[in-house]
């Protein structure tokens, strides 16, 4: 089929539009990366630029060899992301699977119990009081992992729908006739057929853990337990504090702020794991968005 002229113009127009948007997305991220590779004094005298005025790797050298805080924060981020995601991928399908079974007596009641958490919440103040006063998780690594992030009603319902639509009831019946117990069936029949949804939910959960800074903001002020995001957040807060205070107080001097390029380098380290893995998980990520949109 011959492309008509108007069709060609249309194609060119949408490609120009989309390329413009791609630039708008890339330039800000590139600015961050370029900053991290710029010599610090050049950055302070010449400001940020899209191309390093004086190329330098010293910020990364500093991160690799001289800074204990950053390696520690990186370790904590890895720990909460891996452990938290693993825990989440155990309790979420365990709750979702019985809800997908039509013969499960408590199905409707428990489904509502899960769904209601998506409609109403008590707000942050009661949660904060409970976690700090009753469970005393302030300044522990659990504070970064447990509140809010471990499981949510949304992913339970997504998983439940997947099980209901993709695991034939006959298959479960057949396994039962063969004498398999419920846990055995769940582990040997249901889970192997559910790898796509496990990958999707696991991915969204892992990104949630890696990117979270709010739990640290509320529950952690001891820098030994900072995740990378919390460390970045604390540095930015101090930068703002210095910018807003007119005289340089003793407190400001004590802060020992990392230089501008080192700050940018830490931020780059913060996004690198996600960016490096993104091409591989892109498929599941798009899938997650699409099935998430379908009603619960």
């Amino acid at each position: 089929m011959i492309q008509s002229r108007s069709e060609t113009i249309f194609q060119v127009a949408i490609n120009i539009c989309l390329s413009f948007m791609v630039l708008m997305v890339i330039i800000p991220i590139w600015l961050l990366i370029a900053g991290s590779f710029t010599d610090d004094s050049a950055l302070i005298s010449g400001g940020y630029g899209l191309f390093p005025k004086v190329f330098s790797l010293s910020a990364y050298e500093y991160l690799m060899f001289k800074s204990k805080d950053i390696l520690n924060a990186l370790g904590i981020s890895f720990f909460i992301t891996t452990t938290g995601t693993a825990a989440s991928l155990i309790i979420t399908p365990l709750l979702a699977y019985p809800l997908s079974r039509k013969d499960f007596t408590a199905r409707n009641a428990v489904s509502f119990f899960v769904f209601f958490t998506m409609l109403f919440n008590g707000g942050i103040v009661p949660s904060y009081m409970m976690w700090t006063q009753f469970f005393k998780i302030k300044n522990t690594v659990w504070a970064l992992m447990i509140p809010n992030l471990l499981m949510n009603g949304f992913s339970v319902i997504m998983m439940k729908n997947y099980f209901a639509q993709n695991i034939p009831a006959e298959l479960i019946e057949a396994a039962k006739i063969d004498g398999g117990g419920e846990f055995y069936i769940f582990y040997k029949v249901v889970l192997p057929l559910s790898l796509p949804i496990m990958a999707t939910i696991g991915l969204l959960t892992a990104i949630g853990f890696w990117n979270d800074w709010t739990n640290g903001l509320y529950y952690v002020n001891d820098s030994r337990f900072f995740s990378l995001q919390n460390l970045l957040n604390r540095i930015l807060t101090n930068v703002q504090f210095l910018a807003s205070s007119t005289e340089i107080s003793q407190r400001a001097v004590n802060m020992k702020l990392p230089s501008v390029s080192i700050r940018m380098a830490i931020a780059v380290v913060g996004v690198t794991p996600i960016m490096a893995l993104y091409p591989f998980f892109q498929k599941y990520f798009v899938k997650g968005i699409t099935i998430g949109a379908v009603k619960g």
Binding site: L18, I26, V114, G123, S127, W213, I289
Partner: protein, 306 residues
């Protein structure tokens, strides 16, 4: 019969065991704080403890609504949400349509992948990028872009008038990939025969979009808009807290209910007031969701959420 139901229960014991950890988590993380809303009716005194603090009835609320803050935070939260809904929906649909019209799956994958990148960044990182643009002495805007256009530098973190535009732009930047992929998935589901028939009738691209794509997207648009209207009392804490770098000078245009609750609790130590604002948000938010759902039930019952 009684014996039959007993064996059913017995056989289902493993299923009940499975849901125990998840249910326990929801009870602690979600339900316990719901009962904790009584804090809003107390004058919290840490020395006495939460349970023994004095009851004060609705006085936290009357006090909250007497301040100018209550109006400002409500106005900001609602107006920003309205702006985000309108702009986000229109651009999401436009980009979704452009993606669907692309020739070649490699191109589609490339654009889609790049546009989704900002969605993967944490708000802390976005704040760093914002600072690289808007820092008053070394930021790209004041240093390079504004001088090139012959404009005077702006002190971005002190001038609250520019922030409605910044926040709207950044929100769009971060969310455009997500919403366009959502609409794209609906467009892909449209029956291809409709377009072929239109082509045979000689309909132009614009007419196809206007008369096929847009009407087919309508249910999805209605559903998403209503969902977002249901969340109109919630704001993205990261956007409003991180991006303005918690700068006090910007509060008139950056303070929302969520940042107000945070500051009351963590910075001003005004727990009771903070709890009152939080409960106000939860209750009005709940009513909005229920109302939005009732509205969907009326206009298109197949899209009802619950």
């Amino acid at each position: 019969m009684a014996d039959g139901s007993k064996t059913i229960w017995k056989r289902q014991i493993p299923l009940f065991l499975m849901i125990v950890p998840g249910c326990l988590y929801l009870i602690v993380n979600n339900y316990a704080p719901m009962f904790g809303v009584f804090i809003a009716f107390k004058n919290i005194d840490y020395a006495k403890g939460i349970f023994k603090s004095d009851w004060v009835g609705f006085s936290n609320f009357t006090y909250l609504f007497k301040t100018a803050d209550a109006f400002v935070i409500t106005r900001n939260t609602v107006l920003y949400n309205l702006a985000f809904i309108v702009i986000g929906t229109v651009t999401g649909i436009a980009v979704g349509i452009m993606l669907s019209e692309l020739r070649g799956s490699v191109k589609l994958k490339f654009y889609q992948t790049v546009l989704l990148l900002p969605y993967l960044l944490s708000w802390v990182i976005v704040a760093y990028i914002g600072y690289a643009f808007m820092s008053s002495d070394i930021g790209l805007l004041n240093n390079a872009i504004l001088p090139a256009l012959g404009l005077k530098p702006i002190s971005w973190y002190a001038d609250y008038k520019v922030w409605p535009f910044i926040l709207t732009a950044v929100n769009l930047w971060k969310g455009i990939g997500y919403s366009s992929v959502l609409y794209l998935s609906t467009i892909i589901g449209i029956d291809k025969n409709l377009y072929e028939a239109a082509q045979i009738d000689g309909a132009s691209k614009w007419r196809q979009i206007k008369n096929i794509t847009l009407p087919m997207l309508k249910p999805m648009v209605i559903m998403l808009v209503i969902l977002n209207v249901g969340r109109i009392f919630n704001s993205d804490f990261g956007l409003f807290y991180q991006l303005p770098m918690n700068s006090g000078a910007l509060y008139p245009t950056t303070q929302t209910i969520d940042t107000y609750v945070y500051r009351g609790l963590m910075q001003l130590n005004d727990v009771s007031m903070s709890a009152a604002a939080g409960l106000y948000q939860s209750v009005v938010g709940f009513v909005m969701v229920i109302a939005a759902n009732a509205f969907v039930r009326k206009v298109s019952s197949e899209n009802v959420l619950f």
